[in-house]
Amino acid sequence: MYGMIQQAARDMVLARYGEEVWQAVLGESGLTSEHFISAQAYDDTITFSLLSAIGTLSDMHQDELLEEFGKFWIEFAEASPYSSVLRMAGDDLVTFLSNLDRMHASIKSTMPQTAVPSFQLLNANDGHIQLVYRSERQGLAPFVRGILHALLKKFGHTGDISTRPTDGAVVFDIVLHAAEAA
């Protein structure tokens, strides 16, 4: 995966646990360099060994960690040089989600080595949003869930998110709490 993911993982560990734990994570994951270039593609095994080392050292289950990481992701992207991309994706939750797919597809033209996910907005009525997530990778639904939670917060909503797997995809049902639904 592209280096920005590794950068975010490093920042999360540094922010939550400090330099010492980060050095331990590097040791545990067997990585020799802690310098990542955001727009460079790294082998997925690097990303996953990094995440699993963080899980081990923070004593978190992998899904739990991915969800936490998803929550951190938006915070990180907003402070990164990519914040303009986030801003252009939309000023409200529904517009933002409807642009996710276009955003990733467009980024793919710049970073052809990446395997970007696809997002399809099925419907968005009466505070009920359905988003279909498809990926070549396995097991990242908790990450998406974390990001969606962070997005609800970013756009001033509260709500419940549930998932159900369908054919080769995961459907996210987002039900906004009534107060904001209108």
Partner: protein, 553 residues
């Protein structure tokens, strides 16, 4: 076939379209433009709000209607908004089907465009994101460079710290080593059996080579931590050459080697630079040449060439031998520290292998260079140059007034009252042993304070003053003594500074503080006795110019 688009389709395909009536008034605009200027495009004259970049000869609605060329528009007053498209003519209006031209410049950050402002039919959004990604890449590269620079700085600082540590360590080891050698020297003057003398010789030789190694390490670490200073003093090139001949001529002869030194016409004479360091490099090369040559000989050539800078010349030295030579890979590694030609060389010939690394750094410090060419089995040639200033004859120092005669250790005066301040116990014992032949009345103190106190209550003929001491250092003590002497009109006591720091500027500092002479550690017994003899013979007031200067240089 006719394709008809409804308004929603038009909005999606050309989010920045414009519809003009036949007078050139904007009748409607796409969602992206409406959002941009709060829709105030509508109802205004096209040429008032937009400027045509291409084609640039179109100035009225008629010409616009007829144009077939692609359009490039700029919104007036908003330099960053540019649009591209074509004109489609309808019976009662003109459609300008337009899309945004993404600005690949970071100023775009400021324009409030979002994804929906870009038509899904073209690649403009991709270009825009590509620009953003590229910008992020540059930011990353910049941050990385900063981080790496910081890491490099830290690594260099650690290296300097290591060198300083090494220097301190070597210095610490040198003091007791000097104790060992000094005692061995004192012991050698006592009645010894032949077998005991052989053992003592081994102690002395081993100690001497250990000291050489320590001095090499000390030199190298001083250079690496930037603490080695190059002196600027007058020197005579022929003097350096002569001492080289004196030092190595015999050795070469013992090995049956020819030994020849040639100084080219024009190179003779005096210069301004660091003779000690030049001698160190030359001696290192010559000593290696003799070490690695069994047949033939060693040739040394010296010449002088001009530089572009007036008053500055190059002194070039060549040391050529007919020795074992080296392979080219070896020649390349020669000047790096801690690599000897190969480890067997070390075992066979000894040495730290630091000599050439030190020589190279010394050359650099003197704006010079060193290099080697060699052929395995045939011989090697080392050459180096340093830059020195030409001396104008008038400013030459007087030739060394009082060369020390090392043969005569016979003390000039006996029964002297000597005050010696030295904090190190070994050095005190050594000093006492060295002064033994004088049969002196010796008062030993441990720091400057005690020295001043002792001087106040007793009369002394001479004082030996260590520089670095706890409580009060040698310089402060001398200043206090000199102050008292002049206030109370007392007889001036000759004081000799004893220190390991013998750089010119340090020696000057000692003399300025009121010392009369300087002797460097490790102390040479003969030199010490000679100096004491000289200082106690002549009136102390005169020693300042005579002996003091002689010893300082």
């Amino acid at each position: 076939m006719t394709l008809t688009l409804d308004e929603t389709e038009l909005d999606r395909l050309f989010p920045a379209y414009l519809c003009l009536d036949l007078h050139g008034t904007i009748a409607s605009a796409g969602p992206s433009l409406q959002k941009l200027n709060d829709g105030d495009f509508v109802g205004r004259d096209f040429f008032d709000v937009l400027q045509l970049e291409r084609p640039n000869d179109v100035t009225d609605i008629e010409a616009l209607r007829r144009t077939q060329a692609p359009l490039i528009l700029q919104a007036c007053g908003n330099g960053t908004l540019r649009l591209r498209g074509i004109v489609v003519e309808k019976p009662d209006c003109l459609y300008l089907l337009l899309g945004h031209i993404p600005e690949v410049d970071p100023t775009l950050q400021k324009t409030p465009l979002s994804f929906s402002d870009f038509s899904p039919t073209d690649g403009s959004l991709d270009i825009l994101l590509a620009a953003e990604v590229r910008k992020a890449l540059l930011d990353d590269a910049h941050a990385l460079a900063v981080e790496l620079r910081e890491e490099k700085r830290a690594a260099e600082a650690a290296n300097v710290a290591k060198s300083s540590f090494l220097a301190a360590m070597s210095h610490e080891i040198r003091t007791p080593m000097n104790g060992v050698l000094g005692m061995a020297s004192v012991l050698s003057q006592t009645g010894l059996e032949a077998s005991q003398r052989d053992m003592l010789d081994i102690i002395t030789q081993s100690g001497q080579s250990l000291l050489t190694i320590l001095n090499d390490i000390l030199d190298l670490s001083k250079i690496e931590s930037g603490k080695l200073e190059i002196e600027r003093t007058s020197f005579c090139l022929d003097e350096i050459v002569r001492s080289c001949e004196a030092l190595f001529g015999m050795k070469a002869e013992e090995k049956g080697l020819a030994f020849d030194i040639q100084v080219r016409e024009g190179a003779h004479g005096t210069y301004h630079g660091d003779p000690t360091r030049i001698r160190q490099i030359l001696n290192n090369l010559v000593s290696n040449a003799i070490k690695f040559t069994d047949k033939g000989g060693v040739d040394i050539r010296v010449r002088r060439t001009d530089t572009r800078e007036p008053g500055v010349v190059r002194l070039e030295f060549e040391v050529e031998d007919t020795g074992i030579g080296m392979h080219s890979e070896t020649t390349e590694r020669l000047f790096s520290p801690f690599t000897q030609a190969d480890s067997s060389t070390n075992r066979q010939f000894g040495g730290t292998g630091l000599g050439l690394a030190i020589s190279k750094r010394l050359c650099r410090l003197m704006d010079g260079w060193i290099q080697a060419t060699s052929e395995f089995g045939t011989g090697s040639m080392f050459s180096f140059f340093v830059q020195v200033a030409v001396n104008d004859e008038a400013s030459l120092p007087k030739p060394e007034a009082t060369p020390f005669n090392h043969q005569s250790t016979e003390p000039v005066s006996r029964g002297l009252r000597i005050l010696a301040a030295e904090d190190n116990k070994t050095n005190r014992i050594l000093l006492r042993a060295f002064l033994e032949p004088l049969d002196a009345d010796l008062t030993m103190v441990k720091n400057g304070r005690e020295a001043v106190d002792a001087w106040r209550i007793r009369d002394f003929d001479i004082a030996l003053m260590d520089i670095q001491m706890p409580v009060m250092d040698g310089i402060a003590a001398v200043k206090e003594i000199r102050g008292c002497e002049s206030r109370e009109r007392l007889v001036r006591i000759p004081i000799i500074a004893v220190s390991a720091n013998a750089m010119t500027h340090q020696v000057c500092e000692y003399l300025e503080a009121g010392m009369d002479a300087h002797i460097a550690k490790p102390i040479d017994q003969a030199e010490l006795l000679q100096l004491i003899g000289l200082m106690t013979q002549s009136p102390p007031g005169h020693t300042e110019a005579g002996v003091g200067n002689a010893r300082a240089w």
